[in-house]
Amino acid sequence: MIYQGKQKIWSDYQKDIPDDHWFYVRSCIRQNFFPASETHFVKIVRDLLGKDLYETEHHTTCGGIAYHSDTIPQETAMTIVARQFSLMKEAGYKNLVTSCITSFGNYCEILETWREFPELETRIREHLWKACRREFDKPEYVCHASDVIFKLRGEIAEKAKFRLVDRATGEPLRVVEHIGCHYSKMFPHKGVGGAEYPCVLSGMVESWGGQVIDYPERRHCCGFGFRQYLVKANRGYSISNTHKKFESMEPYRPDLIITNCPGCPYFLDRWQYVIAEQTGKTYGKDGHGIPALTYEELAGLVLGYDPWDLGLQIHQVGPELLLDKMGVPYDPARKYLGLNEKDIMKPGLPTVLKCC
């Protein structure tokens, strides 16, 4: 591997990420999958680093899931997106930041489509007006929240309480980065580092002391694939994709996986349990799994937030081995306490995969 070769490519794919004043739109599913991630994004960016980040409760789904599951036509998705733009216009923002990769892809795809077919944009404006008497401006910048963290990675590193380093040996942690397909595979120039060797996550990992693993199936989809998971008959195909990735990364003995997409960490996390049940195989140390974290969770860990406040207990694969390795303190007794010390109850444990 020639690192300079990658740097050369990264220099070709530099993306304009605005410094401040962001209109933040949340994801439909992440709040259920990883309820603390978006909260901590806001905490880190707005509260810790003092940036201007605006949210509105009128924001809805972008329609991306329905669109990718073939249940709504694109024009419907466009009209939904047009409404989000109108919300942003109302709020007086021009920089859109999405929490979800599919939303990001959806916004980019729609804006590109309008650029190529302006008459379609005109029609959508009419649709939006007819539907809710709203008007919109197109955003000046569309970014993904991971772009923002990438931009702020240096500031986070400066404030870091923990580094991605094995406390016992001083060796950097081996990190698998997994980029959501809709981040840059459609429009390589809209991703930091392009589509083949994106550096949005690897940049964070390296800034925070970790070592990125480049394994053969790095580019491969996590397996969610919308229709593939949502239609049960196709679910075997979905898990097979995930299985392929784990088989490929296994020889590198990764310490964790970092992702920037709603579905990826979910499936890379939960399928480890199913694979273990079906094949008896686990990919982490001594029957454990490989923790699959969101970039916000990882940033939170680095900055010293409490693991249970970050929602790591919601993951199927237990984070304890990773926390021990990094030296992050945690109270096992508080693991299943939610917000305001509410007991969220201990789940049943899997038979094969060790979870704590």
Partner: protein, 338 residues
């Protein structure tokens, strides 16, 4: 005083045209940007289909053209039309007067690192056809290990690829790949050699013989399918994925060396020269001839002629033949006004 012809480019086309013009009693001037004559062929080791040494050909061409005035490491800054010819200003300040201009700017080898998925410049064992020729010629190359178990060739890298901006076929890569595959197999008889192709375009004399020999005598595997992505495994070997389209199944194989058959694209200088002489550029970036059947060497503009790969992808013999044709056309233009 002999009439002068300016030849832009000292590759195969320029040298051959110069020697023909000398024989016809004219005074050619070669203006070459680089520090050597012979163009891309000078960097090659052996040429298909005779496997003759490229240096021999270049040596012959240079000898035959030695009577011409030759500028090396010189570029043309400006070309101005005169009443019955042109004047050309060089970047060294010289001004040349001539009756005709012969554009022999040739081609540019596609930058294989632009096909990011193949990892040229990123993975340790990915090289190009040119790198391999250098190595054949005796140059050191740390990317080529001593005893590779498996070697792959990817055809059409940057050719027939609208996303790479080159819809055209580069014409020579299929044959070069077959030739180089045979040469690799001769160097490493134990290695399995795979050629990943979309179509095999082996159109010339003796080319099919090479293909048959590659299959029959060398056991080279031809897999119909374009490589989609390359990655490195934990041992540093390359994991290459393609579709075996004849089988309709995805296919993967681990290789110790991957050779990318970088294609021919139009030379960046071509457009600059074209604008100086008001020649037209085709949508593939190459110069537009008056027509593509009868008058390939003619530009349609008075006293401006083309030869070689500046008008499209060419083989060496085609380039030589065009250079002769262009020399004769220039001669008749100067002497007979035709």
């Amino acid at each position: 005083m002999k009439e002068s012809v300016i030849i832009i480019g000292g590759g195969v086309a320029g040298l051959e045209a110069a020697s023909q013009l000398l024989a016809l009693g004219l005074s050619p001037v070669i203006v070459e940007r680089s520090d050597h004559l012979g163009g891309h062929v000078a960097e090659w080791y052996r040429l298909f289909p005779d496997l003759s040494a490229a240096q021999d050909l270049v040596g012959r061409l240079v000898d035959a053209a030695s009577g011409a005035r030759i500028y090396l490491e010189t570029e043309i800054s400006r070309i101005n039309p005169l009443k019955d010819g042109y004047s050309a200003t060089l970047n060294n300040g010289d001004i040349l007067f001539c009756k005709a201009v012969l554009v022999c700017t040739g081609f540019h080898l596609f930058d294989a690192s632009k096909k990011e998925e193949y990892g040229y410049g990123i993975y340790d064992r990915v090289i190009t056809n040119r790198d391999l020729e250098h190595w054949f010629g005796g140059a050191e190359d740390s990317r080529i290990m001593d005893n590779p178990k498996a070697v792959g060739f990817v055809h059409c890298v940057g050719s027939r690829d609208i996303k790479a901006g080159n819809p055209q076929c580069s014409k020579v890569c299929c044959m070069t790949a077959v030739k180089q595959a045979i040469e690799v197999k001769e160097k490493f008889p134990e290695a399995e050699v795979y050629c990943f192709y979309m179509d095999l375009r082996l159109f010339g004399k003796k080319y099919e013989d090479f293909y048959i020999s590659a299959q029959r005598d060398y056991g080279i595997h031809f897999i119909r399918g374009r490589v989609s992505e390359v990655s490195e495994d934990i041992e540093g070997r390359l994991l290459v994925k393609a579709e075996d389209t004849l089988n309709g199944k995805p296919l993967k194989v681990r290789l110790d060396l991957l050779v990318l058959m970088a294609g021919m694209v139009s030379h960046p200088q071509t457009a600059r020269i074209a604008s100086m002489v008001h020649a037209e550029v085709d949508d593939d970036g190459f110069l537009r001839s008056r027509d593509n059947i009868y008058s390939i060497v003619e530009s349609g503009r008075r006293g401006i002629f083309f030869a070689g790969a500046c008008t499209g992808t060419k083989t060496v013999p085609e380039t030589v033949a065009e250079a002769r044709a262009a020399a004769l056309s220039a001669y008749r233009y100067i002497k007979e006004g035709k």
